[in-house]
Symmetry: C2
């Protein structure tokens, strides 16, 4: 794991030191919103992350305790990745990015549906997702 240099004691900077790139929040999205949990599943996502970048980001997110890695119950050579409480606490950021993109970017129909729900009841959606992800963590 290469060392992460903390650039300042600004909270925004400190967060971006770890998740400020084009891929980390997509892995977190895959776990939180698409119910993906394995290396192969992340690799198959539409954005086509490269294997070396995926391996690098998974190691970083695990090091930062944002995700936790568990042996796959059916295949000892594979792992399942889940969000830790620290990872679950990034959900508000994901939801705000959805609301923002719904206003300014061209997005898919299912995403538009989710944005509609979010604009109606952001707190409710957040609570529902949080509970679902916490239950995965406690298994």
């Amino acid at each position: 794991m290469k060392e992460i240099k903390k650039r300042s004691y600004c909270p925004i900077s400190s967060a971006l030191d770890i998740i400020g790139d084009k891929w980390s929040l997509l892995i977190i999205r895959d776990i939180a919103l698409v119910n993906k949990h394995t290396y192969g599943e992340f690799l198959s996502s539409e954005e086509k992350i490269a294997t070396n970048i995926l391996a690098d980001r998974l190691a970083l997110l695990e090091w930062a305790k944002i995700i936790v890695k568990e042996p796959h119950p059916e295949n000892k050579t594979k792992y399942n990745y889940f969000l830790s409480q620290k990872g679950i606490d990034l959900l508000p950021v994901l939801l705000d990015l959805i609301i923002w993109s719904d206003k300014y970017n061209e997005i898919s129909k299912p995403a538009k549906e989710m944005a509609k729900q979010l604009k109606k009841d952001r707190e409710g959606v957040l609570q529902h997702l949080t509970e679902m992800l916490k239950a995965q963590l406690k298994r």
Copy 2:
């Protein structure tokens, strides 16, 4: 301006195509929360952005219509940068990152104070900041 490749129609991916890096949200922070508006002011921030990265990110954010550039009233060779409505609409993301870092990262005392305010009244802080930034835009 190098072309931005849209990786998918996922709203999170579409947002990260533009602001998914270690610096863009720090420039947006400087304008929104630190009342900085010029190239020289951004350059002087604690994280020490390199001049070529700053120039690149300002051009990208202007191209994406997240910031607007205006001639400096007192010095025609300088510019002032403001957040557009699209930029102001990224405030929720900044505020969520502050709340998250307050919980998990070592941050400055003034940032801790702001996080305390946010946890008490996120909506109120958001509304106050939004109005302040909109007023800058309308001048």
